[in-house]
Symmetry: C2
Subunit: 370 residues, 2 copies
C-alpha cells in the first residue's frame, strides 16, 4: 500500500483525533490542512516558502492540469513533484468537482461526462478511467476517485441516482489504477443533504476498502448547520482506522467543528483566495486590509503573530500594496493566511494531545468573529 494511517490519540470529550499518515514522500501529522496548488503552484508561493510554513502536503487539480499544461507534459517532466519542484506529498482531486462547477454544457452518461473546457471551449470527455490515467501521469501520492458532486439544492431522486453512479465509477477507478503500491486511491462519500443517502454511500464506499475516505458534496452552498448535521451523521459510518478527508473546507470554524466530529484532512482555496482580495485571516476574524481605516495603521496584521509578514510589514504598507495592485501584496497576505491556518491546526493538534480540545475550541471562539 502506498500509504498507511496510524491513529495516535482520540479526544476523550469528542471524536477529535490525532494521527499519522505515512506516504512515500514522508509522514503527515493529522489533522492537516492542505494548501491548494491548482495549476502546479500554490498561488504566489515558492515550494521553499511553503516548507517554511510547515505545509506538509499540497493539493493539485486534475481538471486544471489536464487542460493546462496537459498531463502528458507533466508526465514527460517526470511528474508533478519534479515539474513544480515540490518533494513532499501531493494529493490530486479527480477533476469531478471542476467538471461540474467549471465545465460548460456538461452531459452526464454512465460512461462519463462530456463537457467544454472553460479555457477554450474545446469538447472533452472525462471518465473514471481517464481521471485515474491523468492522476497517474501527474504521479500524486494520493489520488481521488472520479465522482459526481450534485448541486445544492437537489431532489432526492437525482441525488440517489448520482450517488449510485459515483459508487459504480469508484469501482471502475479501483479496477483501473495501475500502481496501488505507489499511489493511494481514496473513495468519496456523496449523498447530498440526505442522511440516509449519506449512510448508504458511506457503507457502499467503505465496502470497496479504500485506504482513505473523503466526504464530498458539502460546502456547496448549503447552510452551515445543515452541513455539520450531514457530516455528523456520515462520519460514524467511516472506519476508525482510515484517514477521513473533508473536501473544500478551509475556514477556522468549519475546520474546528469537523475535527471535533473526527475529520483528519482539509483543503480549501479560501486562505489563498481571500488574500488576493486583500483580506487577512486572524484569530479575531478576517481583517479587510484594503479598507481605508488601515491607511495609517502601522501595526502588523496581528500583534503577536510571528510570521515573516507580521514581523516586517505594517497594515498601512500591505494596504498600499493591495490598493496599488502590487504582486508583493498578494504574496504577503497569502503567506500570512497560510501561516495562520497551519499554525491554528498545530494548536488544535496540541489541544487534542493535551486532551483539552473543547476548552481550546471555546477559547478560540471567544475571540473569533465570524
Amino acid at each position: 500500500m502506498a500509504i498507511s494511517y496510524q491513529l495516535e490519540q482520540t479526544s476523550s470529550e469528542s471524536r477529535a483525533r490525532l494521527g499519522k499518515l505515512k506516504t512515500p514522500r514522508g509522514e503527515i501529522q493529522t489533522p492537516v490542512f492542505m494548501p491548494v496548488g491548482t495549476q502546479a503552484t500554490v498561488k504566489t508561493m515558492t515550494p521553499e516558502e511553503l516548507k517554511n510554513l510547515d505545509a506538509e502536503i499540497i493539493l493539485g487539480n486534475t481538471y486544471h492540469l489536464h487542460l493546462r499544461p496537459g498531463n502528458d507534459i507533466v508526465r514527460e517532466a517526470d511528474g508533478l513533484h519534479k515539474f513544480m519542484n515540490w518533494d513532499r506529498p501531493i494529493l490530486t482531486d479527480s477533476g469531478g468537482f471542476q467538471v461540474f462547477s467549471l465545465g460548460k454544457l456538461r452531459q452526464i452518461s454512465e460512461q462519463g461526462v462530456e463537457f467544454r473546457s472553460h479555457i477554450d471551449g474545446s469538447k472533452l470527455f472525462m471518465t473514471p478511467e481517464k481521471s485515474i490515467e491523468i492522476q497517474e501521469d501527474l504521479g500524486s501520492d494520493i489520488m481521488m476517485v472520479f465522482d459526481e458532486c450534485p448541486p445544492y439544492p437537489a431532489e432526492y431522486d437525482y441525488v440517489k441516482e448520482s450517488m449510485d453512479r459515483t459508487i459504480r465509477w469508484s469501482k471502475r477507478c479501483l479496477q483501473h489504477q495501475k500502481h496501488p503500491e505507489k499511489q493511494a486511491l481514496f473513495g468519496i462519500v456523496q449523498g447530498g443533504m440526505y442522511p440516509e443517502l449519506r449512510k448508504e454511500s458511506a457503507l457502499k464506499t467503505t465496502e470497496l476498502d479504500f485506504p482513505g475516505y473523503a466526504v464530498g458534496g458539502l460546502s456547496v452552498g448549503e447552510p452551515k448547520e445543515m452541513m455539520l448535521e450531514v457530516l455528523n451523521t456520515t462520519i460514524p459510518y467511516l472506519p476508525e482506522e482510515k484517514p477521513r478527508y473533508l473536501m473544500g473546507v478551509g475556514t477556522p470554524d468549519y475546520i474546528i467543528e469537523a475535527v471535533r466530529m473526527g475529520i483528519d484532512m482539509f483543503d480549501c482555496v479560501y486562505p489563498t483566495r481571500v488574500a488576493r482580495n486583500g483580506t487577512a485571516m486572524t484569530r479575531f476574524g478576517n481583517l479587510t486590509v484594503r479598507n481605508a481605516v488601515f491607511q495609517r495603521d502601522f501595526q502588523p496584521i496581528e500583534e503577536d503573530c510571528d510570521c515573516y509578514v507580521c514581523q516586517n510589514y505594517s497594515r498601512a504598507y500591505l494596504r498600499h500594496l493591495i490598493k496599488a495592485n502590487e504582486i508583493l501584496g498578494f504574496r504577503l497576505l497569502t503567506w500570512h493566511n497560510l501561516f495562520f491556518l497551519i499554525k491554528l491546526i498545530k494548536e488544535l493538534r496540541q489541544a487534542i494531545a493535551d486532551d483539552n480540545f473543547l476548552a481550546w475550541r471555546d477559547s478560540f471562539y471567544k475571540n473569533y468573529q465570524n
Copy 2:
C-alpha cells in the same frame, strides 16, 4: 555630505571606471544597476530576495509615492526604508519624468507643472520645492533635482528654453533642501539631442557643485546611435570625481556602451517589466518563455546560470505559469532577470578591474543577439 564617491580604477583602453559610492546606508560598488521599486516595492520581490541577488541600491518613484500611498503616510511610517522594509540605500527620482510622461493635461510655468493624476484625474501642482519636500518625506539617500525631460523629437528653441528652466529649477532644489548631510542631491544634465545644449547644461549644472550628476532625457525614443553620440559628447563635461548616473537605461548593450563612456549608475524597469511579459534575459539575448516552442523544453532558462530559478525550474514549467497567468511565473522571471543583470555588472566590474574591459565586451557581444 551625505555621500562620497571614490574613483578606484580607470580602464586604460576606455573611459570605463570602477568606484565606491559611500552612503549613510552602506557602500555601493560602481558601476551599479539599481532595480526600480516604483510603488515602494520592486515588483514581485521581497527585500530579502533583492539582497540575495546582491542588489545594492534601489530606486523609488517620487511621483507615484506622492500619489499613492502619499508621502505624508510614508513620512509617518518613518520613511520609505522602514515602510518597505529595505535598509540599503534608496535613490528617488524627482517625479519630473513621470509628470511629463504619465500626468495628463500638464501646463508648465516658471513656478512648476500643473497636471492631473493618472490614477484619479485630480489636479496637482509640482514644483522644485515640492519635489524636494516629498523626497525628504520619503527619506531617500540620494534625491534628484526636479527637471523637465523634453520629448524626442523637440525643436532646438524649446529644448534650450527647457534646459535653462531646468537649471533654474535645480538651483531652487539646492536652496530648498534641508538636510544635505543626510540626503544627497544629484543634478541632472538635459539638452535633448543637441550636443551644444548638452555641453551648456553640463557646464551650468556642474557649476552648482552637486555630489553627483545624472544624464537625463535620453532613452526617450531616439535612435541608439544618437543616444550614444549625445552621451559621448556630454560625459567629458562631467567631473571625474563625482558619480555619473544614466537615467532609465537597463539593457545589456546600452549599459556596456555607457560604462565604456564612463557612466557609473543605471536604473530601468526593463528587467522587471519584460519578466511580467514572459521574457527572460540571457547572455544569448532575450528568451520569450511564453512561446509554444518551450512547451516541452525541460531545460532551465540558461544551462550555466546559478540563480535559484535556473537551478530549480524548467522552461516548460515557467511557460506554463506565464500562460496560466500565475504570479509565481512573474516572480521567477523577475528573479532571473535581476540576477542576470546584476551578475552581468559584476562581470563587467571584474573586467575593468582586470583592465580587459574591451575584450570582455567583445566576447559578450559575440554571443548576444539584440
